[in-house]
Subunit: 234 residues, 2 copies
């Protein structure tokens, strides 16, 4: 990790721990330079990174303020690393609904840009946050890129398996967010009535080298999931 | 606009015009340095900016590739500057449903962080794309920050009025995205049946100096609006 990202990470932790809640702003550049024994440039890069993550805003002549908003419980799209990381202070549990290894269908061949003979893990999971159904995930992993997923791995964080066991680096995720009507089956899983809305995301996931390793459709409980997008036009 | 942003803008236009569709990638750094008569650093900053906008991905040792995805018609959350700009090749029209100037209610006092005596423009609009109802917007402007909005201004792009007439700079937007059930009234406006889903955004909008100038609730037609979020984990 580059120096400025390390510093940004450290400041992020302090923000999360409420260290700057009194003033609602970060220490001055000069104070941060001393604290982290870094150049002005590095501190500025760290602050720009925190701005991109939506954690602070820099107001000319006044300082760098914490950006909090009505974000409680919402998933910050700038800073999302899977449900397990998102809700680290809550209990995230997973029920594997179905788990199969079979050839890619035509739609997956196109989404995953793979050969029709490629074996794909078809995994359907229901994920709970603090015991409440949160999302039904339909995920399709290319087994040639992400080998060795077992039923047991699927009951925990597959992202953690990719990073920690396979030592692969996730590079890019393309996500399309929409609203839809729940299918009868997903309604039962989420404990909602038939015909209720869902907040849906369709994702294509790439490694750092650009290789597509998975695609997925996540069907969220519409009253439990919200996404937060913090934009900077500066 | 800084040099690297100008270059990024120019490359963005070339991408949009299909100039790189043959190869699916940008020219090499060396070619861009010559073309724009700029330093390597500036070109790298421009490419990093295009990465943040989700337009390209940089693959180690292979080059900088166009990032297209299944994004047709979806609103790129990294690069959204209002409907009029989003759909510049389509016809965006606006019907003002109601327009009032009155004191802030308790909810708005809290959202806009204003005094209860502050006069607020309460504007409800239905916006069409190519003649089809696209979104019902409930927007609340602080008249002390954004003065002089008329019924006529509200029939066009209020963002353009803020930028071009008032010469104010939009700095930050906090957006919460969720799915909900349409109200009977919004269903009629959007031409949907009662009880159908909506894709909803709740927004708080700030100027560059951090001052909140508006908040809004946008109720989108769930089959017409999709949001695209392109994440980089690199």
């Amino acid at each position: 990790m580059s120096k400025y990202k390390e510093i940004a990470k450290s400041i992020e932790e302090k923000i999360m721990n409420g260290l700057y809640d009194d003033t609602g702003k970060l220490p001055t550049e000069d104070v941060l330079i001393k604290e982290y024994q870094s150049s002005r440039n590095t501190i500025r890069n760290a602050i720009n990174h925190l701005m991109r993550l939506g954690l602070v805003v820099s107001i000319q002549g006044s300082g760098v303020f914490l950006r909090k908003g009505d974000s409680e419980g919402a998933i910050n799209l700038e800073n999302f690393h899977g449900l397990t990381t998102q809700f680290k202070n809550k209990s995230v549990t997973t029920k594997v609904i179905s788990f199969e290894l079979k050839k890619a269908n035509a739609k997956l061949v196109s989404k995953l840009k793979c050969d029709p003979e490629t074996l794909i893990y078809y995994i359907k999971r229901l994920r709970y946050v603090d015991g409440d159904p949160y999302v039904v995930e339909y995920t399709y992993y290319n087994s040639e890129v992400i080998p060795g997923i077992t039923h047991e791995v699927a009951t925990t964080s597959i992202f953690a398996y990719i990073r920690k066991v396979l030592k692969l680096e996730i590079g890019y995720v393309d996500m399309i967010i929409s609203a839809d009507i729940l299918s009868a089956e997903d309604a039962v899983l989420l404990g909602l009535e038939d015909g209720m809305p869902s907040l849906k995301t369709e994702n294509v996931e790439m490694l750092r080298n650009g290789k597509i390793f998975a695609c997925s459709v996540d069907v969220h409980h519409y009253r439990r999931t919200k996404f937060l997008k913090l934009s900077n036009y500066i």
